[in-house]
């Protein structure tokens, strides 16, 4: 059995900046060389406000990006969060030099098997892991501590990634909620947007974007879908993937209390080899699962 959270560092960290980047959406930059060095795309951190008992327990946030000022080493990470309830409201009021307690990196990663076209279908605040995922797929950034080679801003392409092409299908309630579009475009993704209210393009769900894409995709092109967002949307994307026989991985956002496998609160129903389902902990066995194994 694996030793869970084996690369996790539990640290008190300084906030470098905490900027609003869209409606109700902030990007927070947190100093931690250790976490930035270790983290892989798709992983998450548990975040708390240092010394604060209300909110009490940590909240999970996906890695959005890493930053470097000296271009010599990664100095910390960026997270993007939607202001939703108690914790994110309190977080949005913090500023430079305030302290957070951070535990990470945690959780598993998406598959890195070679594929022609990686299609990222996201909704709500599910876009957050995809900047790092797509960059790694295209080979424009390397992750993990075995690679010391560093990247100068966005410019340097190091080695080949695992996908030839990356498309981001991004759905939001309204245009003001779309966050990080420029980052995704700069990273070389084909970005296609949909809003529920039609404030950008036709009012349609992200699943329509996916169906449109699949309809015109060349038969010779191999496709893999990665998906993160509200549960009904992930279930709908998984159903499309199943029908079209395309492999699909989803990143679940089940409520978590510890993030390290000790509380058993974050469970999802996962199909076992014998066809039965069992509850598994999304923080250590996930958060990323093969959608065919999930019982929605």
């Amino acid at each position: 059995m694996p030793h869970y959270a084996c690369n996790a560092q539990f640290q008190t960290c300084r906030i470098i900046e905490n900027l609003q980047i869209a409606d109700d959406t902030f990007r927070i930059r947190i100093e931690s060389q250790a976490i930035a060095r270790e983290t892989l795309p798709g992983q998450f951190v548990m975040l708390r406000i240092h010394g604060c008992n209300d909110p009490l327990i940590g909240r999970a946030f996906a890695l959005y990006d890493r930053y470097t000022e000296d271009h010599a080493q990664w100095q910390g990470i960026d997270l993007v969060y939607l202001v939703k309830g108690k914790f994110t409201q309190a977080l949005s009021r913090l500023s430079e030099d305030d302290l957070v307690a951070m535990n990470g990196p945690l959780g598993n990663t998406f598959s890195v098997a070679p594929v022609d076209h990686l299609v990222m279908a996201v909704g709500g605040v599910g876009q957050t892991p995809m900047l790092a995922v797509g960059r790694e797929a295209l080979g424009s950034q390397k992750f993990g501590n075995e690679v010391d080679e560093l990247i100068d801003g966005e410019q340097t392409l190091s080695r080949n990634g695992y996908a030839k092409k990356v498309t981001l299908l991004y759905g939001a309630r309204t245009a003001g909620r779309l966050a990080g579009i420029q980052d995704f475009r700069n990273a070389g993704f084909d970005v296609r947007l949909a809003t529920d209210d039609g404030s950008i393009g036709e009012p349609k769900p992200v699943t329509d974007l996916l169906l449109d894409l699949l309809e015109v995709a060349p038969a010779t092109e191999s496709i893999r879908i990665v998906c993160c967002g509200p549960e009904p949307m992930m279930a709908a994307v998984s159903a499309i993937a199943k029908e079209k026989n395309i492999s699909c991985e989803v990143s679940l956002e089940t409520p978590m209390a510890c993030g390290i496998g000790i509380c058993f609160s974050c469970v999802a129903k996962i199909r076992q080899t014998d066809g039965q389902w069992d509850y598994q902990r999304t923080c250590v066995e996930g958060p990323i699962f093969d959608s065919a194994k999930l019982v929605w």
Binding site: A257, C263, V267
Partner: protein, 306 residues
């Protein structure tokens, strides 16, 4: 007395001797393996893995935890793979750690408890058993912790079945916790653990729905510390039995309050989730606090409320 004089942190819970009084509470430390890379497990006074039952239990439907003001509500529902799986897959690791491991068991009937105790006899190196007669999330379990007669029967049944030390974990959701503690003491428990979670509920009024899948659950964390402290105090003043304090403990001050109220040891629960290294840090800082009272050992300060 010089400030460098070592402070004796050792403690006794009946027949169970521990090097220090900081233990990790059942259900809040996984099966310890999960914490191996985060915490120096060998430093802990004792480790309680998640409660096991006779048969595997899938546990309750999500959501299983909801945060409330300075507290956490949970209804995990004793999700575990059963005693066979535990002995085959978790025990070899647990016994290799080197710290005392106290296994928490829960049953729906007295026979279940006795059966589990007999099975745990196979577990070489077991330090003690903790009888979870107080889990609020499983019908059946809580009755043994709310009725002195059934509590007595379960504890004496287990006491006859296994020779290792016994802890009995009590619920605060009763009129008189001292009456239950007395029954457990009369039946031969070595110590009582006070307390399990406080029954509670959270509601999303817009959706008119309970937030927990199980609707009601158990409250833990700093929010329940005053309740737990009161329970320890009441048991200490009415029953002659060693007490393990549990409930909202996260700082050295919290530990000291429980010791003064009458606890000979404490278990750290919810704090493990948000501060995984809390237990070993408490062990490092306890000596200074004890020294500040002019004492040289933990034993000198236990139950010294004036």
């Amino acid at each position: 007395m010089t400030t460098t004089e070592t402070i004796d942190l050792s403690t006794k819970l009946g027949r169970l001797s521990l090097a220090n009084p900081i233990l990790t509470a059942s259900g809040t430390f996984g099966y310890a393996r999960e914490m191996a890379s985060i915490v120096d497990l060998t430093k802990l006074g004792g480790i309680l893995p998640k409660t096991i039952t006779r048969d595997p239990r899938p546990g309750n439907a999500p959501w299983r935890t909801v945060e409330t003001s300075a507290g956490l509500l949970n209804a995990i529902g004793l999700d575990n793979d059963g005693v066979d799986y535990f002995l085959a897959n978790h025990w070899p690791y647990l016994k290799s750690i080197g710290s005392p491991v106290i296994v928490s068991i829960a049953g729906k009937s007295q026979e279940d408890f006795v059966y589990l105790a007999q099975r745990m006899n196979e577990a070489e190196g077991l330090a003690a058993l903790e009888l979870n007669v107080s889990c609020p999330n499983v019908s059946g379990g809580v009755d043994f912790g709310t009725d002195p007669r059934s509590c007595f029967d379960v504890v004496s049944g287990v006491r006859n079945a296994i020779s290792c030390p016994l802890l009995t974990k009590l619920t605060p959701n009763v009129t008189s916790i001292a009456a239950i503690a007395k029954a457990a003491a009369d039946a031969g428990t070595d110590a009582v653990s006070c307390v399990n979670t406080v029954l509670g509920m959270a509601i999303d009024w817009r959706k008119r729905r309970a937030l927990l899948g199980n609707k009601v659950g158990g409250l833990s964390g700093p929010a329940i510390k005053p309740v737990a402290l009161r329970c320890v105090y009441q048991v200490a003043s009415q029953v002659n039995i060693p007490i393990v304090g549990i409930g909202g403990i996260a700082t050295v001050d919290d530990c000291m309050e429980f010791f003064i109220a009458g606890a000979s040891a404490v278990q750290i629960g919810t704090a493990n989730y948000y501060d995984p290294q809390v237990s070993t840090r408490l062990i490092d800082h306890l000596p200074d606090a004890i020294r500040s009272l002019g004492a040289r050992s933990l034993q000198e300060i236990v139950g010294t409320l004036q």
